[in-house]
Symmetry: C2
Subunit: 155 residues, 2 copies
DNA sequence: TATTGTTATACTCTATAACTATA
DNA sequence: TATAGTTATAGAGTATAACAATA
């Protein structure tokens, strides 16, 4: 039993000698999976997931994004934004406001309820990161954030 | 036209003021999407995708992993490993060898052809990163890699 | 009893194409 | 002609449950 556990952990360490352990694509994939699996629990408390949270966050930013701008920023197809907005709108968290200058475009803004939920979900995720997150100090965290911002928005 | 492009880019910059731009989960998700979209072209040349490449890479590592060990290292369910190995085995890139000490377990090893393809795919991805990748210098890249290794394997 | 590999299933995410109404 | 939003569809990725063989 304890031996089994030890063997399994040793295997995990052993495989770190593989070239894959230096592969950026693999590390980004595994890091993201670990991170969102933890976030999921905190967001589920508010009926949200990562994508709904992201849209709500931008809607609550005060920048009045259009659906197209949401799609570009989140790197999702415009068709996916439709379903996400539909969902949040039905719950009364965001509103579609037609632009006064271009009747094709919708401006997405968070309602009071939407801002409230976003604030609570954000706090829950932040607290969760502190209690269960990786052992990154403030400096490491800021460094990682800055590097990811460059990779994420290079295209 | 050029104005439209400018407006769109400004919107993207404008939304960076949102709290989401500091959100680790979002940045990991977007970084991964950007990275694997680029990798996809290089891997497709060899009939591979990110997950097949990862399994092949571990099979070619010389560490003789079992299917269970592959699942743990890649953070995939054991049932997903079955299909990936089936695929690679049919192409003659890996073999299932039953363990001499435990008849339940399969040890996965790359064939000569598998090692060959893995080497070529790895070189193509590396070259592609240099020509199309983010403007990270060697130090930034190493820093990012080390931080991601910690996040990816914290659990 | 517990673990390895396996099959099956459902759900989410992602990628594409085509349509409409406006510009 | 081009763009914003929408609908539809198929494929890839992910999460769970259950089973047979073996430990």
């Amino acid at each position: 039993m304890t031996e089994g556990h030890t063997v399994k952990e040793n295997a995990k360490e052993r495989l770190k000698s593989a070239t894959l352990y230096e592969d950026m694509g693999f590390l980004l994939t595994r890091s993201r999976a670990v991170w969102v699996a933890r976030d999921r629990a905190f967001f589920a408390e508010f009926g949200l997931n990562g994508r709904l949270y992201a849209v709500l966050s931008l809607a609550a930013s005060g920048e009045n994004p259009t659906q197209r701008e949401l799609a570009d920023f989140l790197r999702l197809d415009a068709s996916q934004i439709v379903a996400l907005i539909d969902d949040l709108e039905q719950r009364g968290y965001v509103e579609r406001r037609s632009s006064p200058t271009d009747r094709r475009t919708n401006i997405i803004v968070a309602t009071d309820a939407g801002r409230q939920v976003h604030g609570e979900a954000r706090a829950a995720a932040r607290d969760g990161e502190q209690s269960m997150g990786p052992s990154l100090n403030a400096e490491d965290r800021a460094t990682l954030l800055a590097l990811l911002q460059r990779v994420a928005f290079e295209e």
